[in-house]
Symmetry: C2
Subunit: 163 residues, 2 copies
């Protein structure tokens, strides 16, 4: 049994696992004659394998109880998966680096602040969507195509939030 | 000079131009042991031409004044472009079907209700992002790659909202 306290998400800390989507911390340039700032290419979208293509989806997710108890992590070996909150929802992230097995000392837990989204790199182990406090709605950009694209790895993890 | 009153956006009315992203009106199925409903594959992501790939961006856009005055529409011949509001912003949409020229009687104006996003099909003529009332923040999924991917077509259009 692994117990982790979720840390506030930052792009640097999350870099081994993927990208953070947050207009407050990314560079931008003007378009539309200055009316709009474009925060360009914030995430690496990966669609590997046969007949692969990008999907845009919405996930409507029920909130988790705290402390968060997990019995497995999952990965998508053939594609990245981005989650962007549509109602400023905070959510818990539990990740481990790509690989066939998970080393307990490499598992990390983060919590977002409501403005942040994330993009899991293909193969990054991660918890299923774990929104806090209330029903969440997320725009999800991931991969469609042939072949298996979801593996699970058993792991007992409990995640707490700092008080 | 063309004057249009924006109609409430619906998926049926927008079908000639692209997709509407709205979890209230799309089908879904359970994942994550029932915790999450997945509204699957809501938009056709098109990335055409050399070195084409999918981009995830955030656009931060200043609000327009009403009535909205436009002097051109633009199109992206090599890729679709999806806009999803991150703070329930309403926005105005002005579109015309793909083609080398724009027929005035085919131009249409819509207004979203704050929960809706849209995906412009590759080649659909559309106004630049026109958010109402306040600064808007949108997740944008579009195309990177080689070659020109933006054309403009001059057109004088004024758009009003129903009172």
């Amino acid at each position: 049994m692994l117990t982790l306290e979720a840390k506030l998400l930052t792009a640097d800390a999350f870099a081994p696992f993927g990208d953070v989507l947050d207009a407050r911390t990314s560079a931008s340039y003007p378009i539309n004659a200055g009316r709009t700032q474009r925060h360009h290419d914030l995430a690496k979208v990966e669609t590997l394998g046969d007949n692969a293509h990008t999907l845009i989806n919405i996930f409507v997710s029920q909130p988790v109880s705290l402390p968060l108890s997990l019995t497995f992590l999952e990965r998508h070996p053939q594609g990245s998966q981005a989650f962007m909150p549509l109602r400023q929802e905070r959510f818990i992230i539990v990740v481990a680096p790509p690989g066939e097995t998970i080393a307990l000392d490499e598992v990390q837990a983060f919590v977002t602040d409501g403005r942040q989204g994330v993009n899991y790199r293909a193969g990054t182990w991660h918890a299923i969507q774990s929104v806090l406090e209330r029903e969440g709605e997320f725009l999800v950009v991931d991969r469609g195509g042939d072949g298996n694209n979801c593996d699970e790895y058993p792991l007992d993890v409990t995640v707490t939030l700092a008080q």
